[in-house]
């Protein structure tokens, strides 16, 4: 397995790896964003418990 050839992708390296990197970023973003949403909801629930409905949006 010739690694330098693999990375170069016949001259299209930037485009191919760029695409796979973009895919990785999108997948990671989705997970992080979903986790972030849960975190902020939980934070909101803590506020609700502590300060009651006045703290609600």
């Amino acid at each position: 397995m010739n690694w330098s050839e693999f990375l170069a992708m016949g001259g299209y390296g930037l485009y191919v790896w760029g695409s796979y990197a973009a895919a990785a970023l999108v997948l990671v973003f989705n997970v992080v964003s979903a986790r972030g949403r849960e975190k902020s909801v939980r934070r909101q629930l803590q506020d609700l418990a502590r300060y009651g409905r006045a703290s609600d949006e």
Binding site: S19, R42, Q46
Partner: protein, 262 residues
């Protein structure tokens, strides 16, 4: 005989409704989703691994496009997902609108950012695929233009829901907008397709053929595996988002307040 058949029928329908009612209750679904997520995440990882192996190592380079054909294994599944998620969004919205099901409403809302991100990925990879092929970072070809408009439809849906404070109104307005969108998507697709063939000089039509190569069987496997991988991924993230939505929407109930107690 007629009565017996009728009663069995009703019994089956009742069982079905009870089943759906149980699963559609936010509280039950929260737990159910929580148990399901790790399995789906594992399955996603396996499928992605297999798809990447197929796409990057097993599939041969294309006669015309060389190694850049590997971009197709990301671009095409992403484009398929962008459409699929929109259908799920619109379907869930319709169910929520017709049967007043909170879980369906929450599903539509949760789908939107995921679908928009797949559309974005399709656009980015479309651009990266196009640059070596067409020489430009962007081309107004039919598929990319349709994807762009779909992206705007997603953004519009999210913007509308963000602008409405009342949860119920936001859900129902979004659902109606999504249904209007679904009806319009074939029309938009047809129009853009037609517009594209009209304005294409002969050289571009040759390029369009490059954009849609005849799918060689060895290319089909990574394509389908990645498509399934993305779908399972979508299911995983959807369930994650749904759990957060459920907590938010049910924040005044006892079971949620008990759940969050430190």
């Amino acid at each position: 005989m007629g009565h017996g058949g009728g009663i069995a029928h009703i019994a089956r329908l009742t069982a079905l409704f009870q089943f759906l009612h149980k699963y559609a209750s936010p509280r039950y679904f929260y737990g159910f989703a929580g148990r399901l997520i790790p399995w789906l995440a594992g399955l996603t990882a396996l499928l992605l691994g297999w798809g990447l192996y197929q796409g990057l190592f097993v599939a041969p380079p294309d006669y015309q496009q060389g190694e850049s054909v590997r971009i197709m294994f990301i671009h095409v599944p992403a484009a398929w997902m962008s459409m699929f998620v929109y259908m799920v969004l619109a379907g869930a919205g319709a169910v929520g609108l017709i049967w007043n099901l909170k879980l369906a409403e929450m599903t539509a809302t949760a789908c939107a950012p995921i679908g928009a991100s797949f559309t974005f990925l399709a656009l980015v990879t479309g651009s990266l695929w196009g640059k070596p092929m067409w020489g430009t970072w962007w081309a107004w070809d039919a598929r990319l233009t349709s994807e762009l408009i779909l992206f705007f439809l997603y953004l519009g849906f999210m913007a509308l829901q963000a602008a409405i404070d009342d949860t119920k109104r936001a859900a129902r307005a979004g659902a109606l907008l999504a249904l209007v969108g679904v009806v319009n998507i074939p029309i938009i697709h047809f129009s853009v397709q037609w517009w594209n063939t009209l304005h294409q000089p002969a050289s571009l039509s040759a390029i369009n053929k490059i954009g849609a190569p005849a799918i060689h069987p060895s290319l089909l496997v990574p394509l389908l595996v990645m498509a399934v991988a993305f779908t399972v991924f979508f299911a995983t993230v959807l369930l994650m988002r749904l759990r957060a939505e459920i907590l938010h929407r049910e924040r005044y109930t006892t079971w949620v307040t008990e759940l969050v107690k430190p």
